[in-house]
Each structure stands twice: as structure tokens, then as C-alpha cells.
């Protein structure tokens, strides 16, 4: 191989190091206007009235858009379009954008946004996923159950598996709400080109999907919409949902002028998804030799007010809940739940990042109770080629787990002869 396995300079290295790389915030067009979103201060409220008159009197303010100004469908989302672009009757989380100001300068846009008068009737908010999941809990979306998704995984017989165990550990683990903290806050520019096509420059993870979403909101044909991703300053899953794409599109189409939005770090935190906090109840059993016999898991993930990728993320959590181990008897239930918290979505690991806190803590606790080394209990149960996962999937090729264990243990200076039962290490 001449090129594979080498480390040539990155194709974008020079432009980034010299500051020549063009990010969406670097783009400017003649006659460009600036957008500013007005976001809900409430987790749950009815919108009683929106008065834009004072905002429109601010010098430089060209428009204040609300739900009624959306020409196409007022909904967006990667699976369900359950998130309004501009909330019309109700806000379901503090993320929700209620009005959108377009002005000739960023300062005028800010001043205009401060003058948009929205009267809310605050409603009780569901902030605890354990409350939201209860039968009879008020619904976050009137037309949708609070349980967005439930995946059961069943293999073998867990009762028999726990009966066969010499030691059982049972614990509850919780992970937190996390931000992607990518380097470059959201930025987007939209303009109508010489053909009348809409061009959007945006830091995104998927230009073709953005086109689908923008076309739906505008009610336009997709061939007249062009999405371009210039340099992107990190994403980690936080750029998979619509944040500014549909907003700058509305501004450019409404005013027929190029429209730009650049978020501050503070607003960036409010605008994009977060990592699902998960509550994970784990019960794991093993024989005194250290072989796993049974696993019972319940995982509840808080999706916040909108689904985003919730079904796929809780599915991934469930499928990875065993850890990389052969367990003959498994009962897993994972739930994604709506609340009125800020919405959660994709973030590096996509639901498989939370369960390791639980399954790897359980492995160490079992090892401690059994008086065997953490390496040894993992070695005894680790996936190898041909093994079958909890979903019945045969791992047919490239199962390098034990190789990673051996190399890491050697680097740590551990004595494999003592840690591997029988002293075998030539895998």
C-alpha cells in the first residue's frame, strides 16, 4: 500500500492553519441582512399573543416573522417533524423560537428582538422523565404518547440466569445532560442566486438532508435549493437537527435579500440538541468463576420536548447495554421519553456512550465481589469471532476486542500470565 496507512498532510491543513479556510460566518454578500431569533423563556406555555409593532418601528428592522409567515410546513425533525420552526400556539421548551427578526444590522436585529412583545400563559411543565413515563401523565405533544420509543431485547431466561449466578450486583446509574461544545457556534447565510434558487451556506453534518427539511418548510422543489457546507468547526452530532437552516431560508425568501445568522456561544447552547441523560438500572449475575449468567436492564432516556433521533439513540443504547460480552440470558428495556426539557439528540456515541458507565462499573463490582482481577472477568466473557450478541447477531469478522485488551494490558505493565486463566495469551 502506497497511501493507505500513511499520514499525509490533511487536505484542509494549510487553509486552516493560515486562517484562509472559509466558515459560514466569514461569508458576506451585498445587501445582506441579519437575523435574530426570539426564544421562549418558558419550558411550557400557551402563546396568547404576539405584538410585533414596536419591533417593526426599530430603525433597520425589516421584518418580524412568526408561524403564520411560513409558506410550507411548520415542522422539522430527522424522524418526526414534531419541532415547529416558529412556535405558533404553544411552546414546549425554552429552545422554541417564537419570532424571527430580520434587520439591516446585527444591532438592529437584537434591538428589534427585544421589542417583540409575546404574551404567554405559563403551563405546568413535565421536567422529570420518570413522571412523564407514568400512565396518565399529561402529554407533551397532544397527539403523541410521551413514550416515543420502547425496545425490548429478550434472550434466554433471566430468572434461570440469576438463579445460576453465585453473585448478583444491582445498581442504578445516571448520566447527565451534555453539550457538544463544538468550536464554531452555529452560523448560516442564505441568498437567492441569479436563477432565483435559494443557496444556503451552513455548518452542517448532512447537506442533502438539510435540503429536504428546508424544501418542506418553504414548500419549494428541492432542485431549487442548494445547501453548501464550507469549513465546519466540529459537530459531534450537534449539527444534525435544523438550527439556523430553516430560519435564514425564511428570512432570505421573505425579504429577497441575503440573510445571515451567527449565534453567540450563549445562544448556541440553547439552539442545538444535547446528549440524552439516561437513568440506567442494572442487575448483573455471574458464577464464582466469573462467567456472566444474566443481565437485566432498564434504561430511560430524556428526549426533551422533541424526538430528534430519540428512537434510534435508545435503540442503540439497548443494543449496546450488555457491553462487549457474551451473556446467555438477557432482558433489556429501553425507553425514550418526551419532557419539557431542552431537546436531546445525536452526540458522539449516539446512545452507546451512556451504558458503559453502567456495564463496566458492574463488571468491576462483580470482579471485586469474586476476588478476581478486572481484566480476568472481562477476558472470560469478551466477544470473540463467532460469538453471538444479545440480539442474536453472529460476530462474523474483525472482532478485535481481545487484541485491544492484550495490548492495553501489556502497555499498562500488567502480568498477563497471572491475569489470564490458564496463562494463555496467544489469541
Amino acid at each position: 500500500m502506497a497511501v493507505i496507512g500513511t499520514s499525509p498532510p490533511r487536505v484542509d491543513a494549510r487553509s486552516k492553519v493560515t486562517g484562509q479556510a472559509i466558515y459560514p460566518a466569514d461569508l458576506n454578500f451585498p445587501g445582506m441582512i441579519y437575523g435574530r431569533a426570539v426564544r421562549s423563556p418558558y419550558a411550557h406555555a400557551r402563546i396568547v399573543s404576539i405584538d410585533t409593532s414596536a419591533a417593526l418601528e426599530v430603525p433597520g428592522v425589516l421584518c418580524v416573522l412568526t408561524a403564520r409567515d411560513i409558506p410550507g410546513h411548520n415542522g422539522q425533525g430527522v424522524i418526526y417533524q414534531d419541532m415547529p420552526v416558529l412556535a405558533g400556539e404553544e411552546v414546549r421548551s425554552v429552545n422554541d423560537v417564537v419570532a424571527l427578526v430580520g434587520a439591516t444590522t446585527p444591532a438592529a436585529a437584537r434591538a428589534g428582538a427585544a421589542k417583540v412583545k409575546i404574551t404567554y400563559e405559563e403551563l405546568p411543565a413535565l421536567l422529570d422523565p420518570l413522571e412523564a413515563i407514568k400512565p396518565g401523565a399529561p402529554r407533551v405533544h397532544p397527539d403523541r404518547d410521551n413514550i416515543i420509543y420502547h425496545l425490548p431485547i429478550r434472550k434466554g431466561n433471566v430468572e434461570a440466569g440469576f438463579a445460576a449466578a453465585d453473585v448478583v450486583v444491582e445498581n442504578t446509574y445516571r448520566t447527565q445532560l451534555l453539550d457538544h461544545a463544538f468550536l464554531q457556534p452555529e452560523a448560516a447565510v442564505a441568498r437567492l442566486d441569479e436563477r432565483g434558487h435559494l443557496v444556503i451556506y451552513v455548518a452542517t453534518q448532512y447537506v442533502h438532508w438539510d435540503r429536504t427539511e428546508v424544501a418542506r418548510v418553504l414548500g419549494w422543489n428541492q432542485d431549487r435549493i442548494r445547501i453548501v457546507a464550507p469549513a465546519v468547526g466540529g459537530a459531534f452530532g450537534g449539527r444534525e437537527d435544523m438550527t439556523l437552516q430553516t430560519l435564514v431560508a425564511l428570512l432570505a425568501v421573505h425579504t429577497r435579500r441575503p440573510a445571515k445568522m451567527v449565534l453567540t456561544r450563549e445562544e448556541s447552547f440553547l439552539a442545538h440538541s444535547k446528549r440524552h441523560p439516561m437513568i440506567m438500572r442494572y442487575k448483573t449475575g455471574a458464577t464464582r468463576e466469573g462467567k456472566l449468567t444474566a443481565l437485566e436492564v432498564a434504561i430511560i432516556g430524556d428526549s426533551g420536548a422533541y424526538a430528534s433521533w430519540a428512537p434510534n439513540i435508545l435503540r442503540k443504547a439497548a443494543i449496546h447495554a450488555t457491553g462487549p460480552y457474551v451473556i446467555p440470558n438477557v432482558k433489556i428495556d429501553a425507553y425514550a421519553v418526551y419532557t419539557n426539557n431542552p431537546f436531546t439528540g445525536a452526540m458522539r456515541g449516539f446512545g452507546a456512550t451512556q451504558p458503559p458507565l453502567a456495564y463496566e462499573s458492574q463488571m468491576d463490582e462483580l470482579a471485586g465481589r469474586l476476588g478476581i482481577h478486572p481484566f480476568t472477568i472481562r477476558w472470560l466473557n469478551a466477544f470473540r469471532q463467532g460469538d453471538v450478541t444479545a440480539t442474536g447477531q453472529v460476530l462474523e469478522s474483525s472482532v478485535g476486542l481481545t487484541a485491544t485488551m492484550l495490548q492495553a494490558a501489556r502497555a499498562a505493565g500488567w502480568s498477563l500470565a497471572e491475569l489470564i486463566p490458564g496463562g494463555m495469551e496467544d489469541e
Binding site: 490533511r10 448532512y206 447537506v207 453548501v228 445562544e267 456495564y359 481484566f375 492495553a408
Partner: protein, 334 residues
């Protein structure tokens, strides 16, 4: 001594790709020019993780030209084909395969013309490496890529390829969860060494050994970069980061109150690349983007337990939680 050290181990697996039978598709095109250089078109967004570099390397390898001869055009719906999301650790695998297929197609057109110039009866008898096309088993008989491309194009050949790759997955049964939801799976082991200050509750991560099965490292420095970045993000999740809510409102929406690791928080990192050679991957590659971050949290959690005998089950592990757990443990002893 108030500072105690411990080590902790964590193993993970990670199913790459969209999974569960979802259409996981990437398309790419390539065109070889008169001078032997080539342009790849792919919708794949490079978010900074390095996919454009990976795609250029794969194109160079498959076409048999130097890396510097490849330009990769990405992420423009007017000009590039749909490559799917830059997510799910899938661009090296899915788009890498698409680019490889496209390049093989374009190269075969070139080889078909070139074989007549070299008196070879089948394109299976030709190979290319770093801008030279040569006869297998008789490499002295060769032609430069630029001459071969120019002559083929002058003869009316158009050296264009298009590749579409679909990652195989099967939906799981909604009642039992049974099925083959992802492919391929990546694996990793990390071992953390930490130092816990039992007076202040502060945890310092001193070292992380990170062994990752990536199938095949297309770009070794890129893999190491992903591992280092993944550990930084994992360390933040383990010890520092949390979005605080009050009545559903985010209260710490700035980097003065939402703390992410700085260079001063970073441990020594020893990346170890394991190449298990996935047969469905481009040159055996799987991916490393997400797996890089996943084992870090439990490795640190287990190292803390090993150091001071307390197990924190709720993230992040703040000094307050360590101190409270230590007090509880001491109380339990008395």
C-alpha cells in the same frame, strides 16, 4: 499522603452506521483528467474529523496515483452526490467504500485502453502505483499515468466512475430485539491511571492507554487525533461537564460555567492501533470517530474506585461527590 493513585479498565463495542435496516447509502463519483490527476465528488461533510483526507487517500490508493494528485469536492447539493450524514462513525467505511468503487470503475476504463498500449490481454494483468501503470509480474513494462490518461481520453475514453455503497444491516424485531442491527462493530479497551486527592476530592487523570480496533488505519495520525479528541470529550463527561437546568431553562450556557477540559486537564495518552481487517471495509477499515470517546468514562470511574474505594454512579464525578462518598465510606467503617 492525601493523594492516592489507581488504575481502571474499560472495554466497549460499538456498532457503526445508521443500523437497524435504515438505508445507509453513500455515493461518490470520480473523474481522471488528461494529466492523470483526479477529482472526487462526494456529499460527505468533513466536520473537522478528516473525511476529505481519508477519501483522497482511498482514491489515490485505488487509482494508483500520488495523494497530491487528488482533489476532493464535498458537501454541495448542486454538485456532489448524497453520501449520507457525517455521523455514526460511517464516512470512512461507507463513503470510503463508495469512493473505492467509483475509482475502480474509472481505473478499469483507463486500464482497458492502456492494456492495448502495453500488449496485455486483460486488465487483470495491470497494476498502478504512485502514478505509474505497470504489467504485473513484469513491472519494467510500464507507462506513466499521465500519458496513459491523455492517450485514453484522446481515443475517446471518458475516465469516469460512480460508486454507491450500502451498509448491510437488518431491523431488529420490535418484540424481542432480535436481529443483526449494525455492521461492522468497532472494539476498544482503555486503561486509565488517576490520582485522587482525598482532602479536596479532586481527580486528576494522569494517563490513558487507548487500544482501538479500527479494522485498518487509513491515516494513522488521523486515528490518533480521533483517539486524543475522544478522550478529551470523555474526560469532560466523566469529571467536568453538565448542563444545569432550572425549570427547564439552561443556566450555565457559557464556557465560564460549563467547563470543558483544557490542555491542562489532559492526561498522557498512549494510543494503540489494532488492525483486525474488516473484510467489508475499504482496505479493511471500520472507523474510530465515536468509539474513541466511549471507554474513557468507565475507565476513569473504575480507576477512581481502585484509588480510593468509592464508586460514583452519577456523572459527572465532582470533588463534592468524591468527598461525600469518602465520608460515607469512613462512616461505614466506624
Amino acid at each position: 499522603m492525601s493523594k492516592k493513585r489507581g488504575t481502571g479498565m474499560a472495554c466497549i463495542f460499538y456498532g457503526t452506521g445508521y443500523g437497524n435496516g435504515f438505508p445507509d447509502v453513500s455515493t461518490a463519483t470520480v473523474e481522471i483528467h488528461d494529466d492523470g490527476t483526479a477529482t472526487v465528488h462526494s456529499g460527505a461533510v468533513d466536520c473537522g474529523q478528516g473525511s476529505s483526507t481519508i477519501l483522497a487517500q482511498i482514491a489515490a490508493e485505488e487509482l494508483g496515483i500520488p495523494y497530491e494528485w487528488v482533489t476532493v469536492i464535498t458537501a454541495d447539493t448542486d454538485t456532489t452526490p448524497d453520501a449520507g450524514t457525517t455521523a455514526a462513525t460511517r464516512q470512512t467505511y461507507a463513503s470510503g467504500n463508495a469512493v473505492k468503487i467509483a475509482c475502480r470503475q474509472a481505473r478499469d476504463v483507463l486500464f482497458e485502453h492502456t492494456r492495448t498500449l502495453l500488449g496485455v490481454n486483460t486488465i487483470a494483468g495491470l497494476a498502478a502505483r504512485e502514478g505509474i501503470i505497470y504489467v504485473r509480474g513484469y513491472p519494467r513494462k510500464q507507462i506513466s499515468y499521465s500519458e496513459a490518461a491523455a492517450r485514453a481520453r484522446l481515443a475517446g475514453c471518458r475516465l469516469v466512475g460512480q460508486g454507491t455503497f450500502v451498509t448491510h444491516t437488518t431491523a431488529v424485531d420490535p418484540e424481542t430485539g432480535q436481529g443483526a442491527p449494525y455492521w461492522p462493530y468497532a472494539f476498544a479497551t482503555q486503561i486509565a491511571e488517576v490520582e485522587v486527592d482525598t482532602e479536596t476530592g479532586e481527580v486528576r487523570v494522569l494517563k490513558l492507554i487507548a487500544a482501538h480496533d479500527v479494522g485498518r488505519a487509513v491515516n494513522r495520525l488521523g486515528v490518533e487525533g480521533q483517539i486524543e479528541g475522544g478522550i478529551a470529550q470523555g474526560l469532560g463527561m466523566a469529571l467536568l461537564e453538565k448542563v444545569h437546568l432550572q425549570q427547564g431553562r439552561i443556566v450555565n450556557n457559557s464556557f465560564s460555567t460549563y467547563l470543558i477540559p483544557t490542555v491542562l486537564d489532559m492526561p498522557e495518552i498512549q494510543p494503540l492501533i489494532i488492525e483486525s481487517n474488516e473484510p467489508t471495509g475499504p482496505y479493511g477499515a471500520k472507523g474510530v470517530g465515536e468509539p474513541a470517546t466511549i471507554p474513557t468514562v468507565p475507565a476513569i470511574i473504575n480507576a477512581i474506585y481502585n484509588a480510593v474505594g468509592v464508586r460514583i454512579r452519577e456523572l459527572p464525578v465532582t470533588p463534592e461527590k468524591i468527598l461525600a462518598a469518602l465520608r460515607e465510606k469512613e462512616g461505614g467503617k466506624k
